[in-house]
Structures are given as structure tokens and as C-alpha cells.
Amino acid sequence: MLGKTPWNDEQARSLIDARRGEHGAMLPILHDLQERFGYIDSAAIPLIAEALNVSKAETIGVVSFYHDFRPEPADGAVLKLCRAESCQALGCEDLVAHLAGAHGLEVDGHARGPLSVETVYCLGHCALSPAALLDGEPMGRLDRARLDEIVAGAKRRPQ
């Protein structure tokens, strides 16, 4: 589950400093920041650029290249729903339609509300498709009823 600590320059600096000597430290630093704060704040860019002796443009280039790094934190739970071939073969697109139709949840829409749903391509649970990760917890053999429970569970959770 992603961190919910509000952005804090000092904490960010110490996370960056802890890694700056490593070879190819960029991705490990970005993962550490996202784990702590739940996203990569734009204030992180100059800090990383300075620590790793690269340009800000280069840093932004890396952050934006990878699907994982979020520009803003998610309000609530995050469901990563697999939409690759194996899950297609067992109806993941029907689940996408169900989320929209029954719950008004747009996949890859804004990260507001108790549950945001994101597309992911393959979680390695292909023998138990359709699969998803709910805040890092794996789920297999998903169906509409199970999705309804997940949505209800996320709504019950204190924000």
C-alpha cells in the first residue's frame, strides 16, 4: 500500500541522500519517495537532479517514462486490474464495463474517491484470471460479485 505521509522536503532529502552513492540510484530513489509519500511531488525533481548530478529535464524524463510513478496521490484504495490477453480470455473487459455501469468507476480516471482503478498488463496470476492487485494484495478469479465487495469495502474504509 502506498504511503500517505504528506510531502516533506526534509524527509525527501534524507531518502535521496541514503541512495545517492549507489550505481543507477534513480529508480530506487523514486520508489522510496513514492512508497513514503504515495506519489512523486514536483518538488522532488530539483532535489534528485542535484543529488545525482543530472538535469531537471532528464529527471522529469525518467519520472514520466515509467507508468508506476504517480503525479498525485490516490485518495483511497488502488485496484490494479489486469487487462492483458489471459485476463481478456476470461472477461476482464466485462469487469471494466461493470465498474463503469454499476459503480460509476472509470478505469484510469482520476484518483479521487475511495477507490481508483488502474489498468495493468499482467500480474503473473494468468492461471487464475481475471486478476488484480488491491493495494498490493493479489486477487484471482475475479467476477462481478467480488468487484462489488471490493467497492463496498473501499467505501467503508475511513479515509
Binding site: 543507477g24 523514486l30 517514462f65 515509467y66 480470455a89 476470461l90
Partner: protein, 518 residues
């Protein structure tokens, strides 16, 4: 005597409730005053039976599955600790036909041992390959790998021994071993299972490579979609270090080798080896032009062996039993075994390790038992999102590198995804382009632009606009992608598209559905 109960901690097993099952068994044992030890293992790879639990009995391990948490009480009542009969009894594990029919050389311990117990690993044949490699020396180690005929299991099928020999022959102050664990192909999960279920095997294989080529540092690049594998593998590295398998003096050889696990960040393209190296260096995962080959100029510009998880994991067996023994499995230029992965709309999905040469039909029908939906099989995609779709008439194609190429497909990482007759193959062709567009690194034009043009062209065909013209354009576009792309993403995207078109042409000629104007 304390009874031993084995419950998988594999993340796919957890995805269908293995965690709750383990807790329920522990609670029930406590309530009944039964003394048991629960060992969390990897998975045997019989996923339709997960959570599948096992108990040790005098005649061997007995399995039950799938066991829901609510069934813990009835298992105790049935005397399962002594192998008692129960509605979910599967009998002796080793006699389950799905397992008995396999030829497991790589996946021998997965689901059997505690993945993080180095003692368990040693007791079950672990580290024999590395010991022998140390006593043979570097040159003879590479000779064994060459003799085995092992080819890269990531998809490209390049001979592993030749790669190692090249790196060994280059002088450098630093060399690297890099493991590609960015298993992004849909329908594949063998790397994940292995890192979660038998991580020391990968560590042993990488150490063999390190000693053989003179590299002291290794990196494993694990995709972020595999958080459990990343955690387990990280813990295994620490144990291996403490146990003297990694570090300054590998198993008392006087040689140094250590490994670091790195987490990917959701980019499919980073499964391409040069893009993976860029990512490890902290850059955008953009493909490099080759040459220079990574074997000459790889990670941080140094000579680098980069292999897939399964390639490294095959080498301990090869060193322990000899390259010649390994080469006795398989046929033609495809030697040894391949862990195939059965997925999608299939009744019995799971891991099937077999010598090369079994047919697709044997996998999906004999092992897989047909579709999960019970409808007829219409298409089988082999080799991930860049692999071809096979119709029923081609299911007798043997699964080996050359036969797959001859049918204009590819083996890839051994993933097999089954679709029933509800599939619309024009939609699947569209998806192949859409996926390429989303995951393209953007470096070369055919892939970056061609993928989006491909989506648009398939859309026009589906919508019934100038079908002959657009079909011709589609083939022309595929030729451009095949011949003009820098790497396999753009270069192989035409495989699923053209196989859909050639084998399921009727799906591109369907009457246009009546929909409201856009």
C-alpha cells in the same frame, strides 16, 4: 510426532485464499490441541487446485485441494494429518497425473521446500551445481553450458554458452551478471513462481555465471507487478550472503560474487535487454542500437551477461548432472526442458515443464483439459503479446524454437493463452497494436507511429470502411514494423496481427454492427 502441513505462500495461491486457509488450519489445530508445523512453500503450479495443501505421511506427501478456509475443520475431522480421506483428497502428490506427466529439471523444489531455508535447499540437491562449477573452473563450466545446448529462455533463444564465452573472453576491470526478471508477457508466470518458490536456484545459477565469466556483481531486475517475488527474492539474497553462497568468498572458493535486486517501474519495454540495462542505469527505458552487444558493452558500459530467470535457473542442473545429460532432453536444436505456462480460458491452468517437442494440443487438451468455459477452443496464443494466435488446425505444431518459427510464430517465454469461441480476433489484432502503442519506448518510428496507425487501420476495417484497401494497408504496415523496428516490440507486434488475419480472416469480414453515429 509433530505433523507437517505444507501451505503455499505463492502469490497466485494467496490470490485465491491460501493465506486464510493457512490461518484457519493453525486456528483449528490450536483449538483441537493438535501439534502441527505449517511450512509455507512455493506452488507446485497446479493452480486450479489452489489453495492446495499437503501433509507428510509415511507413504509420501498427500495433497488436498482446493481447500477453502471453511474446510479446515472437516479436514481435521477426516484425519488429514495422517492422510485421511476427504472430499478434497487428491492422493499422493507425486501421482497426480498433471505432475507425473512432467519432466521437471528446473521446478523440482518449487512447492516442495521452504523457499527461504538454505538447509532445505541443500538437503534437496541445491548447490551441487555451484560446487561442481567451482571444482571444474571457469573454462570447463562454460564447456558444460555449451554442451547442454541451453538457449535463452527469455524468448530470443540465443545459445547461453556462447554468450558466456564471449563475456569471459573480454578483458575488463568490472563485469556484470544481469538477470532479466521483467516477465511482462501475459500468460507467463514461471519466473514469478521460481523467485517466490525456489529463489536460491536463481542465485545459484547467477553465481555459476559470475564465476564462469569473471563477474563479481549481479543485478536482478524484477518487475514491480511482482511485489511478492521482489520481497522473497530480497530475503533470499540476505540468507545466501549469511550462508556464504554470496559475498567475498563464494562457498569457500576464494572468489567473490554478490547480487542486488532492483525493482522495475511498470514499463513492458524494460523486458528488452538493452532497455533493461538503461533502466538499471537510472535512465528512461529506451532501447539501445546493437552493436555493441551487451556482452561487450553492457551495464555501465562493461561486459555483461544478461539472461532470463529460467536460463540461469537451468544451469545448476546442467552443472550438477552434466551438459550431455541435459541435451538428452528435447529435439533438434531445442535441447532440454521448457517450463510452459498454461493460462487464459483453460480448465487446468498451471506450470508444465516438459522437454521441447510436445505439441500445443498436448498442452492445452491433455494437460489443460480444454476451456474453463466449456466452449470449444478457438485460438491459442503462444509466446505472450508478441506471439502468434494458432487456430485448431495448427495445434499439432510441436513446441520448439524452429517449429514455432516455421509457422510464423515464436515460443517466447513459453506462455500459452487459450481463448474460446467467443473471442473476436479483429479485436485481438487491434489490442496488439494498442499495447505496442502504449508500451513503445518511442525511439524508432515504425513502432512509435506505426502502432497507432495500426489501431486506426484495424478500427476502419472493423467499421467496414474500404476493407480491401485497409487490409492491404495493414499488411504493408506490418512489413514496415517487422523490417524497420529497432527491437522485438515493434518487430514482432505483426505476429499476433498477421496470425489473426491469416487464420481468422472471417473476423475481419463481419457485418458492421449497427451503432449510433459517432
Amino acid at each position: 510426532m509433530i505433523a507437517k502441513v505444507f501451505v503455499p505462500g505463492d502469490s497466485s495461491a494467496l490470490a485465491v485464499g491460501a493465506g486464510a486457509t493457512a490461518r484457519a488450519i493453525a486456528d483449528e489445530a490450536r483449538a483441537r490441541g493438535a501439534e502441527i508445523e505449517i511450512v509455507r512453500t512455493g506452488s507446485r503450479g497446479l493452480f486450479w487446485l489452489e489453495p492446495m495443501i499437503e501433509v507428510e505421511t509415511a507413504s509420501g506427501r498427500v495433497a488436498y485441494g482446493p481447500v477453502a478456509a471453511s474446510e479446515a475443520g472437516s479436514l481435521f475431522a477426516a484425519g488429514f494429518l495422517a492422510g485421511g480421506a476427504h472430499a478434497k483428497s487428491l492422493g499422493l502428490v507425486d501421482q497426480i497425473p498433471y505432475l507425473e506427466g512432467q519432466q521437471r529439471l528446473v521446478f523440482t523444489r518449487c512447492g516442495v521446500t521452504d523457499p527461504l531455508s538454505l538447509e532445505d535447499y541443500r538437503r534437496n540437491g541445491g548447490l551441487q551445481g555451484l560446487q561442481r562449477a567451482i571444482s571444474l573452473g571457469a573454462r570447463a563450466t562454460i564447456e558444460e553450458v555449451l554442451a547442454s545446448g541451453l538457449r535463452g529462455r527469455g524468448g530470443a533463444g540465443f545459445p547461453t554458452g556462447i554468450k558466456w564465452r564471449t563475456v569471459a573472453g573480454v578483458e575488463a576491470d568490472q563485469k556484470y551478471i544481469v538477470c532479466n526478471a521483467d516477465e511482462g508477457d501475459s500468460g507467463t508466470f514461471a519466473d514469478r513462481m521460481l523467485m517466490e518458490g525456489d529463489p536460491f536456484l536463481l542465485i545459484e545459477g547467477m553465481a555459476i555465471a559470475g564465476l564462469a565469466v569473471g563477474a563479481t556483481r549481479g543485478y536482478v531486475y524484477i518487475r514491480s507487478e511482482y511485489p511478492h517475488a521482489f520481497r522473497t527474492f530480497g530475503a533470499a539474497i540476505v540468507k545466501a550472503r549469511n550462508g556464504g553462497v554470496l559475498g567475498a568468498d563464494v562457498l569457500g572458493s576464494g572468489r567473490a560474487f554478490d547480487i542486488e535486486a532492483r525493482l522495475g517501474a511498470g514499463a513492458y519495454i524494460c523486458g528488452e535487454e538493452t532497455s533493461l540495462l538503461e533502466s538499471l542505469e537510472g535512465k528512461r527505458g529506451q532501447v539501445r542500437a546493437k552493436p555493441p552487444l551487451p556482452a561487450i558493452k553492457g551495464l555501465f558500459g562493461k561486459p555483461t551477461v544478461i539472461n532470463n530467470v529460467l536460463s540461469f535457473a537451468s544451469t545448476p542442473w546442467i552443472l550438477a548432472q552434466g551438459g550431455k545429460a541435459y541435451a538428452e532432453y528435447g529435439l533438434g536444436r531445442s535441447r532440454g526442458t521448457q517450463p510452459f505456462q498454461l493460462a487464459g480460458n483453460v480448465k487446468r491452468g498451471g506450470l508444465v515443464e516438459l522437454a521441447f517437442g510436445a505439441t500445443i494440443r498436448r498442452l492445452v487438451e491433455d494437460f489443460g483439459g480444454g476451456t474453463r468455459s466449456g466452449r470449444p477452443i478457438r485460438a491459442v496464443q503462444v509466446g505472450g503479446p508478441l506471439g502468434a494466435y494458432f487456430p485448431d488446425s495448427l495445434l499439432d505444431t510441436p513446441l520448439d524454437y524452429e517449429a514455432m518459427l516455421a509457422t510464423r510464430g515464436m515460443l517466447g517465454h513459453g506462455g500459452i493463452v487459450v481463448f474460446d469461441d467467443s473471442v473476436d480476433m479483429a479485436r485481438q489484432a487491434r489490442f496488439a497494436f494498442a499495447f505496442c502503442a502504449k508500451e513503445s519506448c518511442g525511439k524508432c518510428t515504425p513502432c512509435r507511429i506505426g502502432s497507432t496507425r495500426g489501431v486506426e487501420t484495424v478500427d476502419k476495417i472493423i467499421a467496414g470502411r474500404d476493407r480491401p484497401g485497409n487490409l492491404a494497408l495493414l499488411r504493408d504496415l506490418c512489413e514496415t514494423l517487422t523490417d524497420g523496428s529497432l527491437c522485438a516490440l515493434g518487430g514482432l507486434t505483426p505476429l499476433p496481427v498477421l496470425s489473426a488475419l491469416d487464420n481468422f480472416g472471417e473476423d475481419f469480414a463481419r457485418p458492421v454492427p449497427r451503432v449510433a453515429a459517432e
